[in-house]
Amino acid sequence: MEVSRRTFFKAGLLGGVGLTVFGFDAAPLLAQTQGLKISRTTETRSTCPYCSVSCGVIIHTIGDKAKNVTPQVVHVEGDPDHPINRGTLCPKGSSLQQDIMNERRLTKPQVRRPGSTKWEDISWDQAISDIARLVKKTRDDTFIATDSEGRTVNRLESIAFTGGCTDTNEFNFLVVKTMRSLGLTYIENQARV
């Protein structure tokens, strides 16, 4: 097998010192090297989204970001470094890959119009414009600047926000900032129940 001089040179320079300086027969190793199908895996530390133990997980994804390939999850491993779960996972945690790569996932914004019997796909831009318009109308119709005793209350009781159990702290802060600024008093979360 023909081994390019360039490959040989670089290998000798950086990694295969033993090949060049020690004098091993480099050809078979270089031949095997050229035949390798290398895959690139990224390991990402995450936290199981289920209960509150917060088991560490390491999500293994393949796909080269540089080559613009969407990563695929190939394995979810219990984080062996995590002091609480020490690499173990429960039956829910063990099947997390199914949760991430699940054909039932919602992938398109949809709308169900008043009186309609079906979902329709809608663009993000349209959905966001529509929602903003609905919020503004509801707010302008019902905002309470002062209560019956003339006290400033600046509140909006006609719109509610309910947050979920895997919303992050940072997202929740944005909720407080945006929703309290709209005047919402009905800000609630899974945490309540």
Partner: protein
């Protein structure tokens, strides 16, 4: 949790009650098992069902759902009567010695002093301490009266109150009574109105016989458990330590907060709080509901547990005066009263929210915040929507229809709403409410709600911080982008908000100020980086800030190293004081993954970051005796270092670091008293200073303690046509409780084939005896009916729930796991009845935490 998951390995005694960690937290449960294996620790499990946790318990007790206070009250009484308490701890670290105001009445008849039957609220002015200093040795009744009378005239609290009343404009309600600054106390604990004596008297009614009548736990079993749990304080032992572990089995009651208080009181009496292997430990059920609470995802607080403004707070100063507590303690003792820093926290929060628009001149944009003077809890949302008041709702990851209570009411409510915006991972019950079972195509045409269903990002697709039940902040990284057109939640929220802002900018509208001025200087406003938000939450200096004591200066623009640097003059901003220190200038501490545990106690100080200031066990000053020496030298949390003149330890001292033991500063630094509250003064809880057993709202019996005040007097029921409540007289005589399974997660894993394979279908757990009575065999379809709805599922006939003798009457309990609905793998294959367990549960909530009573409501059961 006051402590943490790994810390459970340090315990000698576990009471697991109102929680089923083997089922719901299997990987965390390795630590209780470790305690059993390595320390021969004992485990007592109390539950309505023999659970997976009960499997490894040393003693299991079957309790009637909702009678936990009776059981725990019985334990308190047992501990007091048998001297199984840590006396030094009780005298010095709790308010046991404090003297309670004259006129305070215990609830022999079910009511504390001050109840107004018309409004169904308490006037809490007698729920207070007496003013007057050291009464030790003056315990005679006459002397007490004298002391009370002597101080009555010059009561500083009253003076303050009077002044405030005079200043207020006519018609305004008088300000609430305050704690006395110089509390009367009797270190001998003999004063008849000392907290200790009142406590003893109060729980003396919780005899083993009474416990048996109420809970259904036979007296002998109760006494065995009481002896076992309190055995850690046998013969004056102060080394051993016990923990109490609970979850929503305690919170989901109309007196849930009080159950937890009873447990906390028991732990204070035994001296178990603040110690390795001790504490009161809420397991919590979800990945980030601890964080959601810290971050004020709920209506009644602002980030960091700051109180929300009320309409009477006419300006920022009024607000801050109202919510900042003043120290109230024996004169000779010290109190850190950490909440005295409230102004720093509040101003910094407003600076984080409104930036330059929050200035001293405009009271830090105080009026941008809505004023809250009534309940806006999740159950109220659906009620107000049903009444036509709530017109639109965002549901970002909360499946409100399935969560209930009374799911049918929530569906009816949504039919009346104008719009619903759901952001979810999977098709869920809430977004599909208009196509739920029983709604025909014709019906759908009459439903005018616009529903947006937006595809959000799963946990693996987003970065950001989760907080576990041990208060550990742990940052996680995104492993891949959301699938298809799905987007990150923060992008969806930001784009909606910015679009609204744009509309107000262009068109004007009602009170646009807060919308236009909200600080939004993220690099990518349409998709804020959570790194930037996390740094914003931690807080930064807006001008140079110097700590006087250490002469450390944080330069303008730098991240703050801890909440000691927060200021009330506008020179700092910070979204949540509790998280201040999580992302200092040096970098994000919640991203740390240090695996060192030098003490061997499982503290792992360099893994993530826990609030407050990386303390892993809260109130850990109490892990030492009065002189500052650890109760148990083999499990040292912190200790006083005389040479260094400060508190040091394996954990970060949760205390004023240089407060000498001689100063007698209380370890419970978040209370103005500095000590743990066996008696909760004033209105910090709505239903009484000591927890009292009340029956669940729907109960098979009248309360044996006071049949004429059977349920919690301050519970309010909802009043629409759909809020129905059942009674035994109407045939609802089976106690029903709801819960989760280890194989499933809420309403989520019904989309995963593996989890569906493990437990494919909904079921109802039924005692053998009840099944026999009703002619039900295992696997038969049964109909469970509450006053609200019917639920059909298969029967699991079991020995694990037994008939109980409750107040002499045979009573049955059944249980329903909640994991199914009308969207999911088996649901869509038509394999289930498509009912939601929470169609059955009642719309009635705890007056303090506003959590619905999902546990222990009444149903009928029959073969379907």
């Amino acid at each position: 949790m006051t402590n943490g998951w790994i810390d459970m390995k340090n315990t000698d005694m576990m009471l697991i009650m109102g929680g089923n960690p083997a089922e719901n937290h299997p990987c965390g449960f390795k630590w209780p098992i470790e305690a059993k294996r390595a320390r021969n620790a004992k485990m007592i499990v109390v539950d309505p069902r023999f659970t997976r946790t009960a499997v490894v318990a040393d003693q299991f007790l079957q309790i009637r759902a909702g009678t936990d206070i009776a059981f725990l009250g019985g334990l308190i009484s047992y501990a007091l009567q048998n001297n199984r308490i840590n006396k030094e701890y009780v005298v010095n670290y709790t308010n046991a010695a404090f003297v309670v105001k004259e006129g305070f009445k215990l609830p022999e008849d079910g009511l504390y002093s001050g109840f107004d039957p018309a409004t169904q609220v308490y006037n809490k002015s007698t729920w207070n301490y007496e003013e007057g200093g050291n009464l030790t040795g003056k315990a005679a009744a006459g002397a007490t009266m004298m002391a009370a009378a002597m101080h009555a005239g010059a009561h500083p609290a009253m003076v303050v109150a009077a002044a405030a009343t005079a200043a207020a404009k006519p018609g305004a309600p008088p300000p609430p009574p305050m704690l006395p600054p110089n509390v009367a106390y009797d270190l001998s604990l003999e004063h008849p109105r000392s907290v200790y004596q009142l406590l003893k008297k109060h729980y003396s009614r919780y005899t083993p016989e009474m416990v048996e009548r109420i809970t259904g736990i036979p007296k002998e079993q109760f006494l065995k458990a009481a002896d076992l749990f309190t055995s850690i304080r046998k013969d004056g032992d102060t080394k051993k330590v016990g923990t109490i572990i609970y979850a929503v089995g305690w919170t989901q009651h109309t007196f849930g907060t009080q159950i937890i208080r009873t447990a906390a009181m028991l732990q204070l009496l035994l001296g178990n709080v603040g110690r390795a292997g001790g504490g009161v430990n809420a397991l919590r059920g979800h990945a980030n509901i601890q964080g959601a609470t810290d971050m004020a995802g709920v209506f009644d607080i602002l980030p960091g547990y700051l109180k929300v403004p009320v309409p009477n707070d006419k300006d920022f100063d009024t607000y801050i005066n109202r919510i900042t507590p003043k120290a109230a303690k024996p004169k000779e003792w010290d109190s850190f009263n950490y909440w005295s820093n409230t102004p720093r926290f509040a101003v910094s929060l407003l600076k984080a929210m409104y930036g330059d628009a929050a200035s001293k001149e405009n009271g830090w944009a105080f009026h941008y915040l809505p004023k809250v003077d009534r309940r806006y809890s999740v159950t109220d949302i659906w009620d107000d929507m049903y009444r036509g008041k709530v017109k639109g709702i965002f549901a970002f990851g909360m499946n409100g229809v399935a969560i209930g209570p009374n799911s049918k009411k929530n569906i009816e409510a949504l039919k009346k709403a104008d719009w619903l915006v759901v952001c979810e991972l999977f098709p869920d019950e809430t977004s599909s409410f208009w196509e739920s079972p029983g709604i025909t195509a014709e019906d759908q045409k009459k439903i005018n709600t616009t529903v947006y269903r937006l595809p959000g990002a799963g946990f693996a697709e987003k970065d950001g911080t989760f907080v576990n039940s041990a208060r550990w902040l742990q940052w996680k990284n995104a492993a891949l982008p959301p699938p298809g057109e799905a987007k990150l939640d923060q992008e969806i929220l930001a784009r909606i908000f910015l679009k609204i802002r744009e509309l107000y900018q262009k068109e004007g509208g009602k009170f646009p100020d807060a919308i236009l001025k909200a600080a939004w200087s993220y690099t990518n406003p349409n998709n804020p980086s959570l790194v930037e938000v996390a740094k914003e939450i931690n807080g930064k200096a807006l001008a140079d800030v110097t700590d006087e004591k250490t002469q450390t200066t944080i330069k303008a623009g730098q991240q703050l190293p801890g909440f000691g640097f927060l200021r009330d003059d506008g020179s700092t901003s910070g979204g949540n004081w509790l998280y201040c220190g999580s992302w200092p200038e040096a970098g994000p501490l919640m991203q740390r993954r240090g695996t060192e545990d030098p003490s061997g106690l499982g503290i792992y100080p360099n893994w993530g970051w826990s609030w407050p200031m990386n303390r892993r066990v809260m109130y850990n000053r109490a892990s030492c005796d009065v002189s500052g020496k650890p109760w148990d030298p083999s499990r040292k949390q912190v200790w006083w270092n005389e040479a260094a003149g400060k508190w040091v330890g394996n954990d970060v001292p949760d205390f004023k670091p240089d407060s000498k033991p001689q100063d007698h500063m209380g370890p419970f630094i978040m209370n103005p008293e500095g000590v743990g509250r066996l008696f909760v003064p004033l209105g910090f809880v709505a239903d009484g200073p000591f927890p009292e057993h009340y029956e669940p709202f729907e109960s098979p019996i009248a309360n044996p303690l006071h049949p004429y005040q059977s349920t919690n007097p301050v519970v309010k029921k909802f009043k629409t046509a759909m809020d129905k409540y059942g009674t035994p007289a109407e045939g609802y005589n089976v106690v029903c409780t709801t819960y989760r399974l280890t194989e499933h997660y809420h309403y989520w894993t019904k989309n995963n084939p593996m989890n569906v394979q493990l437990v494919p279908e909904p079921f109802v757990e039924i005692p053998e005896e009840l099944a026999r009575e009703k002619g039900i065999n295992g696997g038969d379809k049964v109909r469970v009916t509450s006053a609200r709805a019917e639920y059909i599922a298969k029967a699991m006939v079991t020995k694990r729930i037994r008939p109980m003798k409750i107040d002499g009457k045979t009573t049955y309990q059944i249980g329903i796991p909640i994991h199914w609905g009308y969207r999911g793998i088996v649901e869509e294959e038509g394999k289930t009845a498509k009912d939601l367990a929470n169609e059955l549960s009642p719309t009635v909530i705890d007056p303090n935490a506003h959590t619905p009573e999902f546990k222990g409501f009444l149903v009928k059961l029959e073969k379907a």
